[in-house]
């Protein structure tokens, strides 16, 4: 019994919803239609009213009613619709502005002073004990700074190969510092090196892995970087077996920037995935549409 009343009620509600949406459609049309076309419609209605199809009384009611509505509410409704349109336009503009801002802040992404000072201290030490090793680390540092410092960033950074090269320099420095506490493997097929890949994203993932996963872990661990193509999706993984992920830790500037830039550049076609495998550690993956950059030098 109660069930039946409810279904009847919801049916009535449904009819109400339909009627209201039809009414507002009519109202919108009335508010927006040019006066000349409205007059033509009235004439047609008037002519129809003379035939036996419609009652003249109803036609007269329609004409007077719609004329009244047009005069009273039309202007307001029209303004509302225009306001909504310009709001949508403003939305697109703000999206473009956000992309520029995100790119700017990525460009300004600074070299972490802690990293820089520790590396310089290491080079200072190696100059005395192992000059050839010092020269090597020194070269890696220059390579890293060239890609990271905004003033130094050169063209052609937008390929996966370039990003891997930079990751390699950074990890070589970290290995010299952490010694046996850090092992590294990079597995990127050569044919993927020319693929387009946004700058400073892989770097942010790797630095996170080292800083939050491996450096705090007493016995250290390993970091694996892999790239693969699945259909038209290029996926780059950074996996570590560090201390894992703290769900209460803030999102951090780095990950937020990566996510925001991916969203603005590729919409929903790109993703930043962060996973904790069952056997510990953390895996961060960036999936973007695969686009081999035929003009880029790998």
């Amino acid at each position: 019994m109660g069930n039946r009343t409810r279904s009847v009620l919801s049916f009535v509600g449904e009819i109400g919803d339909t009627a209201s949406s039809l009414w507002w459609d009519f109202f919108d049309w009335l508010a927006q239609v040019p006066l000349r076309r409205l007059v033509v419609t009235w004439m047609l209605a008037f002519l129809l009213g003379l035939t036996p199809v419609l009652h003249p009384k109803q036609v007269a009611f329609f004409i007077i009613g719609s004329a009244g509505l047009k005069i009273l509410a039309g202007g307001k409704r029209k303004a509302e619709i225009e306001a909504r349109k310009s709001a949508a336009q403003a939305g697109t503009e703000s999206l473009e502005r956000r992309l520029v801002e995100a790119q700017m802040s990525a460009l300004q992404a600074q070299v972490e002073p802690h990293f820089l000072f520790n590396t310089l201290a290491l080079i200072g030490q190696l100059i005395e004990t192992d000059p050839p090793e010092a020269a090597k680390i020194h070269t890696h540092l220059i390579e890293y700074l060239r890609a990271t410092l905004p003033q130094m960033r050169s063209r052609g950074n937008g390929t996966l190969g370039r990003q891997i090269q930079m990751a390699h320099s950074y990890l070589a420095i970290m290995q010299a510092r952490m010694k046996s506490r850090l092992s590294v493997s990079i597995d990127v097929p050569q044919e993927l090196e020319s693929a387009t890949f946004p700058p400073m994203m892989l770097q942010i993932l790797i630095e996170n892995s080292i800083k939050h996963g491996l450096e705090p872990k007493v016995e250290g661990g390993r970091i694996d970087i892999r790239a693969s193509v699945n259909g038209s999706v290029l996926q780059v993984d950074v996996q570590d077996d560090g201390i894992g992920f703290n769900a209460y830790a803030g999102d951090g500037v780095g990950l937020t920037n990566v996510r925001e830039r991916l969203k603005l550049m590729y919409g929903t076609r790109a993703q930043l995935l962060i996973e904790q495998p069952m056997d510990g550690g953390c895996r961060a993956s960036i999936c973007i549409p695969f686009a081999p950059d035929i003009f880029a030098k790998p």
């Binding site: 509600g13 109400g16 919803d17 209201s20 972490e112 002073p113 802690h114 820089l116 000072f117 520790n118 310089l120 201290a121 290491l122 200072g124 030490q125 190696l126 005395e128 004990t129 010299a176 510092r177 952490m178 010694k179 506490r181 450096e215 705090p216 872990k217 007493v218 250290g220 992920f245 769900a247 209460y248 830790a249 803030g250 999102d251 990950l255 937020t256 996510r259 929903t268 993703q271 995935l273 962060i274 996973e275 904790q276 495998p277 069952m278 895996r283």
Partner: protein
Amino acid sequence: MSQPKATAIIADDEEPMRDMLRKRLQEAWPELEIVAEAANGIEAIALAGQHQPDIVFLDIRMPGLTGIEAARMLFNRCHIVFITAYDQYAIEAFEQGALDYLLKPVNLERLKTACERLQARLGKTPNNIERQLSQLLQQSGRGPTGSAAQPEYLHWIQAQVGNSLRMISTKEVLFFRADEKYTRVQTAQGEFLIRKTLKELEDELDPNEFWRIHRSTLVRVDAISEVTRDLRGRQMVRVRNSTEELEVSRGNTHLFQQM
């Protein structure tokens, strides 16, 4: 010198840095005996207990325990000298609090001065530096290492996907909906089921980021695109990137009152 040789422990997670400090110390203070070297904070404590050194050199950023945390457990047993390459907040505190510290790479002149200070204080009981240390510890919680953070809101939702736990940033979540035994997490990319109840989520999430609009719905405020009213007067919330309409229960309509 009639007194027994002074002893010291070096703690730094980076081996080349330990080598460098040991070499420099041999030059600056040849009588000092380095009895052990530690690669992390926990090891430093253990070795200090074992060797009872006069001095412990502690790097600040170390795994296990940071130098500052280790110092808190050691300061009344031996003299502490901090070493760091770059820790803005710590260096400031060291200068104000008259704590001993060295900057990497260690400069020989500077090290000699530090050694002279230490030699003068060797026989005496170490300074009580507990207050400075707890202050430092508080600051470092906010600093870049952030190990001892204050109670925070939940920022990541963990959902099981296959063999791993997917970490979903709360910034990606559009809304949570109670779904029988589970809670459904909706993002622009898809949906996930988690076991945490809406009540638990509500307690752990930032209340300014997520609003409880219904017994079974928790919505991220920033994701809301519009709030409409249907014919029966119910408020309905729409979120970006989802076609689903979320009902606002009568008790929560005050959340969306017109200005």
